[in-house]
Symmetry: C2
């Protein structure tokens, strides 16, 4: 369940409506957000692409997508997927085609009594974004009787220069206040919760600084390999695909100062301040890796260079570990350890905050033997929190054992809504908080721009392992250890 109040009548236009993102993510999320009584008469969907389809054929695709997403058939689904779902074939390309699209939009709005609030969702490759935005502008579709919002999916450029250029193209047509850049990690429940969790709990926020925290780890581990995305991935790699966006966004939410208010720009201002305080990592702050052949769940899997569409001598990284410094008063001296990789032993996205050890121990051993308290925020799967603490085991005098308290969303609330539902509802309501601002994108690219140019060596690791052994060095160099997944 996501919040739906405050969503006005509108037309949701998706460019690239026959693509994978539309089928797998947008259609099921749109259905869940808008199919109920409150919104079903207020929101119409217009799919746009080059394929020669009509409304009926497109509605068949919509039904197939909902079936694949596990949405049960029935009246509610039939009503939604027929009444207000339309398709427009974009032809010819260029301004003439876009003017025809404008005609179609106005016709649909008129037929459904919509007041001219429009969303243009670009579910197209990066290479097509700038052209699409320009044609929207040239056809005068950047202005409407109501609001006009532009939605972009990652990647937002390939490096700092291309990101800046893309933002210039966008701002020539849309003001930033109408631009919604999606990083779907920001829609995940535990990520949204980070701000409440930090600023409503003195227990944690009182300790949230260099005086009390020893290190922060952010791990995004995947079990999947490159799958069908080799064409894209060969031009990207883990740093562009995961680190610059998802992991860096998580970092900003962990590290940001309390905003003066909770409006979208106050929060995003604080996130940008964090990004600008991050020092560019140097060669010995980075370990890159690429998966070789290995075994996962007892099955042999191919190495990256053996995957379809991958060059047999590819040096693209499928793993990256970084040691970042946030050079400000709150965080200086606290290493932020980031890592992400494909074909790792487990699937898990988590943030691990390790607190400082006690200054003295009168228990067993030396202070270095004391295990630090840790707070683990699990973003996926099995969202929740784990807090480790030391305890005297019964029957022993003044010895210690590590135990944990935990909270799991699933136990408290049942299954959570997909991140896209949250983000689409916010978009339709006009709340930019969970969307990435232009200066955030650029500041994040700036951190990794040197790394894009002078690439470190890429170490091969066997699929199904924890990644290259060299990554250990990054953690041990700062007296930390990479977390192992909760047993």
């Amino acid at each position: 369940m996501v919040q739906r109040t405050g969503i006005p009548p509108q037309l949701f236009v998706v460019l690239g409506a026959t693509g994978d993102l539309m089928q797998r993510k947008l259609l099921p999320a749109l259905f869940h957000v808008s199919a109920d009584e409150m919104l079903r008469d207020k929101v119409a969907l217009l799919g746009v692409a080059r394929s020669p389809l009509d409304d009926a054929a497109f509605r068949g695709r919509v039904q197939a997508s909902l079936t694949a997403a596990g949405v049960p058939e029935g009246d509610r689904r039939r009503a939604w997927a027929s009444g207000r779902v339309h398709y427009h074939r974009l032809t010819p390309p260029g301004e003439v085609g876009y003017r025809a699209l404008g005609e179609r939009i106005r016709a649909i709005e008129s037929a459904h009594g919509l007041p001219g609030n429009r969303i243009f969702y670009l579910a197209v490759p990066l290479s097509a974004v700038a052209d699409a935005v320009r044609e929207i502008g040239a056809a005068g579709l950047n202005r409407a009787p109501g609001f006009t919002r532009l939605v972009l999916e990652k990647p937002f450029g390939q490096d700092l220069a291309s990101a800046e250029e893309l933002n210039r193209s966008i701002h020539a047509v849309f003001p930033e206040s109408d631009v919604y850049r999606i990083d779907h990690y920001l829609g995940k429940e535990t990520v949204q919760n980070l701000i409440v969790f930090r600023f409503a709990n003195t227990l944690f926020e009182s300790l949230w600084d260099r005086d009390h925290i020893d290190s922060v780890e952010i791990t995004v581990a995947e079990q999947l390999g490159v799958e069908e995305r080799a064409a894209y991935y060969e031009g990207a790699g883990t740093v562009r695909d995961m680190v610059q966006n998802h992991l860096t966004q998580l970092l900003t939410l962990v590290a940001m100062e309390p905003p003066s208010r909770l409006d979208p720009d106050s929060i995003r201002n604080e996130k940008v301040k964090v990004l600008r305080a991050v020092r560019r990592p140097e060669a010995d702050d980075i370990v890159l890796g690429q998966y070789g052949p290995g075994t996962m769940d007892g099955t042999r899997v191919r190495g990256y260079r053996e995957e379809d569409g991958v060059a047999t001598n590819s040096s693209v990284e499928t793993y990256a570990a970084l040691r970042l410094t946030v050079a400000n008063w709150r965080w200086m001296g606290v290493p932020f350890l980031l890592r992400s990789g494909k074909r790792l032993s487990s699937k898990s996205t988590r943030i691990v905050v390790s607190f400082r050890r006690p200054p003295v121990t009168f228990f067993t051993g030396e202070p270095e033997d004391l295990r630090p308290n840790t707070l683990t925020i699990t973003v996926q799967p099995d969202e929740g929190f784990d807090l480790t603490f030391e305890l005297k085991p019964p029957g022993h005098r003044l010895e210690m054992q590590t135990h944990r308290m935990h909270f799991r969303y699933g136990e408290a609330f049942g299954p959570l809504a997909d991140a896209y539902q949250t983000l689409l509802a916010d978009l339709m309501r006009g709340d930019q908080t969970l969307f990435v601002r232009a200066d955030e994108v650029e500041a994040a690219w700036e951190i990794y721009s040197a790394l894009m140019e002078h690439r470190p060596e890429v170490h091969v690791y066997a699929a199904g392992t924890e990644g290259p052994a060299e990554a250990e060095r990054l953690a041990t160099s700062v007296g930390a250890r990479w977390s192992i997944e909760r047993p």
Copy 2:
């Protein structure tokens, strides 16, 4: 399971061996500590009382006690309760009788090859303690070839003057280093753990002061009434029976500074420092109550004045709530709210630490509406920890809900040993850490001495309720709320 290493061969002498404490607590605990292979040939038990029993009759009582305590019959139990269990009838009273006891002790030690390590456990009423100690001294039993330890049960006096006098009588015969005063709350697992918990977890100890804690509550709630103890209780009341000892001991462990080392006297020095920093409560810091008739679990129960052995106009309190000030650098300004009572709605001993609220809120309402984070340490039953925190419920934007993480000893370790097992093993080993020192007793009485003399009004409350409504005032006066039991 308690730790048994380091316990030398010894004779365990119990004076008052036919009494209730011996039957219910000491015999089962002694069995669990000493019946296994490691100790069964090293420890002998000599029960002493006035009743005309012989070894065989006493062993029958021992067997009955173990059966009542749920110890399964079998070879192990038979071997323990026969081979090394003896009885001595103390007659005539006075020095002659004690000299005869000395003869018997030496005979038993000789028969079992014991080296002359002796424990004298006084399981006798307060009125008999001073005499027994004096006679032990007069008969020369305060010295032995090995160690001689004196064990006392509460009450340790009736007020400051009588406690000082009792300590003088004891110290005329035994040095403090041989005296073991039992407060069985100190043997409870979660209480023992307090020192490890505080000083091995920076997460908590970093917040353990007036800058981060709003209030501390210590609750010992009983469902039982006065039961068979009216004769004692009419001369005692809740402040003497519970507050001066158990609740005040819990307070010292929560509030103490880290000791410089973990030896018994370093720890007890810190506890005394806390007691000396506690200001004597004034009239408006105290609410006393006495239970009237009421309903518990659907059954009518009598009021205190209707109980057998209680004066029909008794003004003895069965409930006390206090607001204490610990006037030192760590705690000044943090109210310690203590309460204990009989015939309350639930049975629970717990310590609740309420942390400060965030200084600003940009969520719903005012900072005062924010719920503070709380750490609840449950001493009994269902020992463990609960930590409450604020969370954004899924599907809402920037609202808050209170949730909890928990740890339960029962889930991690199974059933815990009775506190007496821990304390007897420590006593037999010679570790005074969990025993109350003379100056602790006196400093604790000092806090309550004015209260003993100028008794505030006693409010009647219905059995089965939360106690007198007047107790609310103590909490609300400092912006706090008494905790309700975990649902």
